[in-house]
Symmetry: none
Subunit: 202 residues, 4 copies
Amino acid sequence: MSTRGLPNSPRANRGPAAAAENRSAVLRSARRLFAEHGLHVPLTAIAQDAGVGQGVLYRHFPTRMDLALAVFDENLDHIEEVAAQATAASSDSSATDPFTTVWQELLTLSLADIAFVEIAVQAVRNDRALAANGRLRRVVTPLLDEARARGSIDSRLSVADFFLALRASYGVVSTAMDAAAARADIDDLMTRLGLPGLPERH
Amino acid sequence: MSTRGLPNSPRANRGPAAAAENRSAVLRSARRLFAEHGLHVPLTAIAQDAGVGQGVLYRHFPTRMDLALAVFDENLDHIEEVAAQATAASSDSSATDPFTTVWQELLTLSLADIAFVEIAVQAVRNDRALAANGRLRRVVTPLLDEARARGSIDSRLSVADFFLALRASYGVVSTAMDAAAARADIDDLMTRLGLPGLPERH
Amino acid sequence: MSTRGLPNSPRANRGPAAAAENRSAVLRSARRLFAEHGLHVPLTAIAQDAGVGQGVLYRHFPTRMDLALAVFDENLDHIEEVAAQATAASSDSSATDPFTTVWQELLTLSLADIAFVEIAVQAVRNDRALAANGRLRRVVTPLLDEARARGSIDSRLSVADFFLALRASYGVVSTAMDAAAARADIDDLMTRLGLPGLPERH
Amino acid sequence: MSTRGLPNSPRANRGPAAAAENRSAVLRSARRLFAEHGLHVPLTAIAQDAGVGQGVLYRHFPTRMDLALAVFDENLDHIEEVAAQATAASSDSSATDPFTTVWQELLTLSLADIAFVEIAVQAVRNDRALAANGRLRRVVTPLLDEARARGSIDSRLSVADFFLALRASYGVVSTAMDAAAARADIDDLMTRLGLPGLPERH
DNA sequence: AATGAATGAGTTTTCATTCAT
DNA sequence: TATGAATGAAAACTCATTCAT
């Protein structure tokens, strides 16, 4: 009784190259919708926003946590890149201290992305998040050591303090009434903790 | 014709006197289940845990936020009481500074109750939460003034700093791996911010 | 554990006189809310609007249909009264024909009260509604006979035609876009059926 | 963590081809249950009757009104078809006048389908229903003009009268005690209004 | 005789997950 | 390999009816 085949849409994103594109489309949409609505957005909405079928989403990210951690991982990719660039540029004596650059980038990320907090919180309960934290630790430790040696930060500041400050910033950002207040409060908190505040420009 | 609303169970908590009891039962269950599972627990589960029908829950708390804020309000009731007792006892010169007592109670609350953070975060977007924050401010300001005068805290510490530190503690607690780590990290953070840490015993 | 008694509200509507008052209050509210929202309004809303407890509503009107028919019955009371007055006034030769007066009153009622239609429709399925229709028939038949004798209406118009026209007017009113259109359409329909239209004034 | 949405039943009506079938199944069930029980039947019952999950119903008809209007639209499809056939057959001089055929079909529909009335009544309050009425008007107008020209209906009968009569028939049908009485009353009303009555046979 | 809180079945609605095509 | 319809459990919400006080 059913008429013809018409299995899927005319111009389907087929093939291995398209698969990778689909994956990033999903990731991009997830990042945006997580940021806008929090971690509870319907996965259906993400797939739709990405312009792919739900099956694609499930193929690449079997669970919601997989998706959340993938977004989180991208943040770390970004941070690593920033760290590499900052280190490369640090031979130029007039450049900002690499640690400061990375730290400001992390604060900026927190500020921009409500879900960054949520993901971190959820992720912490998850073994795989330990790996994520490990990555961050590996990036930050040498920069911190160097910054201490240079004297650009307090010599008593440890990696543990760094993580503590980062986590404290979560609380400040996530309970802020608005973006401007959040900026001011973060700057304030960092001053009290002896760490660099946010960069001038957004 | 009407099919809904069959008779109710044999021996129920009826009458105006029971109403208040039922309300507290709901609140008690909500507090516990929010703390255990977060703000997303099914309202049905709360009603069941409280041993009441869903209608009771909806009668007293039309929306989930109403319930969350009621729990939050109870926290503030508790804090006010602690503040009053601490103030009353402060004539005894050997007593702990009232501000310290209250502050430690707030940290302890944060530590004990995952949902305290969540509620605070959600509540911040809500006008009614401003009133709640107002309550806290009114309680804390005089204690803080007195503590500054006495010299038990840094003379530069403002009420804004107090809220900032409280919000920072949210981040630290909510991203902690376990209770022991949370304790240690909170103590650490407070030391760095020049505020009292947690009390020795729980 | 429950505190005091406090069985019911301070100034309760007690006593037999109050009972009658409560009954009419419920009836009054039912008429209004049925008219505004149709027969499906929550009974709770009616009780609340009437300022009585739900128990009172159920005491006087065990089922929704009891309430609906009570409202309908009041309409018939009103019609009977109009009929009696019109008849009494009919000795005055300049007066409007009694049948016309009653008929116009019926049309006006239909026009004013959405629920009038709904009740009639529901009522038809109900044996008790037959009694209601019987009342109307008993009032109208002599007026109609006299009107025919006088020549104020077509001599072929029977009581059955009268009911038919009334029911037809239900359809016209209930599908009207607005009150003005309803008036015009009813007038039109009645003209085509050889019956008096609506009175000039509302 | 997520508890919702367990796997689905073994052999389901999957795929794009089945979607259309499922939609019609829902529509078919809706038509029947609306006709039997009125517009208030539980949507669940419709889905069940159609043999589909509730999701299917919501996918195709987000609101109850969407479903009701879809049923109504189908009626208009049917009427258009009848009109086309009647017009095509009208060259045969012995055939019934096309307008009469269409009009009788409309009366028959009203008679068969309690919900037809209800939907029409509800639909009137709805902008989308105006479009539906527009469709009907476009179909009827030329037929009416021709019927007037031929002399098969009273030359004074306008399109407005047509709609008026249709709406009047709603009232008569919806307040009828039983099918036989409804038939007789409709015939009677139409005679009085100078329009064709019901066809002999159904 | 009145009050109005409580019950809980019935309905609506959402959405994670599967799978025919 | 992708699509997107289908499923159906679960969660949210409503309200007729009862009954302790």
